[in-house]
Subunit: 239 residues, 2 copies
C-alpha cells in the first residue's frame, strides 16, 4: 500500500454541496452548478500519522468523500452532449486511482466566514484537516459512480455516514468540467467529490473509521482509522 | 535570474484587505484581524510566459503585491510581545527571498461569491491569474516593510498603483502568525501580503508593467511585463 501520491499533490480541489440530503441537513441553498474550494496540501494527514487536531473553540465536522488522484493534465474538459458512461470512462482515463478523504471542516468558523462573505480557507485548511487513505488502484473500483462511502465515530452503528456515490447531484464528468474550465488540473492533483448526509461533530478523544465499500465489501486500501486530539497552539476561534 | 522557486511551491497563501485605502476603494469592511485565501499553483504565470488570459464575461482586476518565498517550515509563529523590528527579522529568517506577484481577481465573480457566502476560489484561481516576477534575493530588499510596489496599465503615468509596503495595516509578523497558527507554512510556499490602493480592470489588448522600487530605483528581478488576451475555452461568467 502506498501514499506516494500525496507528495506529488500541489492542489486539492473540493466540491461543495453535491449530495442533496447533505445540503438539506445544513440548511444550505441547493447549488445550480458545481462549486469548489481548495484545501492546502499541508492539511493532508497520511494513514497512521494521526491524530486529527481540533483547534481550540472549533466545532470540527467530518465529511467523508471519494477523491480522484490525477495522472494526466485536464483543461477545459467538455462533458456536454456526451453519453454519461462514455464521459465517465473518459474522465477515469485522466486519473491514476482514488483515495478516501475526510474533508474536516470547522463548522462554526465556516458559518462566520459565510456570513461575512470571506474565503473558506481557514475553516477548511487547518493542519490535519484532510485525513486520506492509502492509494486505491482503479482495479479496486469498477464503477466510481456507484461505490459506498462510510464513516463511523466511536464505532457507532448504523454508521454516521453510509451512502452510495450514485447520489451525487453533479456527476464526475460535470464536476471535472466545472473545475478544469477555471483551473488546469495537473498530474498529482486530488479532487474531492463532495460528502453524503450524516456529517457531524467530533471532539478530542473520539475515533473515526471510514472507507469505501464495493459490492458490500470494504476495500482494504480505503480504510482510515484516526483519533481526534486537541491541537493546542495559538489559534483560538473567536479571538 | 531564476524562477525555480515557482516549481517548488505547493501553496500560495494570499492576505486580503491589508491596505486601508484599498479597503475603502472597494467599499469593503475593514478587517479586525488578517484573513487569507489560497490561489492554486496552477494559476502562476512565469515571467515571459504571458499573456494573462481573461475568461469570458469576467471583470479582471489587477492587484500588485509583495510576496514572500519560504525556505523554512513555519508553524504557530508568535509575534506578540516582541519588538516590531526583531519580529520582522525573525520572519525574514524563514524566507529565501521575494517575488512580486499580481493577484488577478475576477471582481464580478468575487462580488457574486461574497453575496452567496461561497468560496473565493473561482474568482482567484483561473489559469494565469498569478503573474510573478523572477526570484528577488533578500540582498535586494533591505527592508520589506518599506519598499514601493508599482503597477501601470498601458504605461499610464502616474502609475495605477504606487505605494509603500509601510502602509500595511497588519505587518508581516502578524500576517505570518495568523497563517501559521492555522496551517503550517512549508518550504517553497509563497505568501502574498495584500495590495495597495489603485486596483482596476484590464481587458484583452491591455499591457501591465509592475515591480518593486527600493530607494526610488526599480529592482531588476522584480519586473513584470505582461499582456492581457482572451482566454476562450468553455468558462463563461454568469452561465
Ligand atoms: Mg466536503
Ligand atoms: Mg478558498
Ligand atoms: Mg490580493
Amino acid at each position: 500500500m502506498s501514499t506516494a501520491f500525496a507528495e506529488k499533490c500541489r492542489k486539492v480541489v473540493c466540491i461543495g454541496r453535491n449530495y442533496f440530503d447533505h445540503v438539506l441537513e445544513l440548511n444550505n441553498a441547493k447549488p445550480t452548478a458545481p462549486f469548489f474550494f481548495l484545501k492546502p496540501p499541508s492539511s493532508m494527514l497520511l494513514p497512521g500519522k494521526g491524530p486529527i487536531l481540533a483547534p481550540t473553540g472549533v466545532n470540527c465536522h467530518y465529511e467523508v468523500e471519494l477523491a480522484l488522484v490525477f495522472e494526466k493534465t485536464m483543461k477545459d474538459y467538455e462533458y456536454k452532449g456526451k453519453d454519461e458512461k462514455a464521459a465517465l470512462s473518459e474522465c477515469v482515463d485522466y486519473i491514476s486511482g482514488y483515495t478516501v478523504a475526510i474533508d474536516m471542516t470547522g463548522r462554526n468558523v465556516q458559518d462566520e466566514i459565510k456570513k461575512k462573505g470571506l474565503p473558506w480557507t481557514t475553516a477548511k485548511g487547518f493542519d490535519t484537516f484532510l485525513p486520506i487513505s492509502h492509494f486505491i488502484p482503479k482495479s479496486a473500483v469498477p464503477d466510481p459512480s456507484d461505490v459506498t462511502l462510510f464513516l463511523t465515530v466511536n464505532n457507532q452503528k448504523p454508521y454516521n455516514q453510509h451512502d452510495s456515490t450514485n447520489l451525487m447531484m453533479f456527476k464526475i464528468p460535470e464536476l471535472l468540467s466545472a473545475i478544469s474550465s477555471v483551473m488546469t488540473i495537473e498530474a498529482g492533483d486530488i479532487v474531492l467529490t463532495g460528502t453524503p448526509k450524516g456529517v457531524g461533530s467530533v471532539k478530542p478523544g473520539d475515533h473515526i473509521d471510514a472507507g469505501l465499500e464495493v459490492d458490500g465489501k470494504v476495500v482494504e486500501q480505503s480504510k482510515i482509522s484516526v483519533d481526534v486530539a486537541e491541537k493546542g497552539g495559538i489559534y483560538v476561534f473567536g479571538k
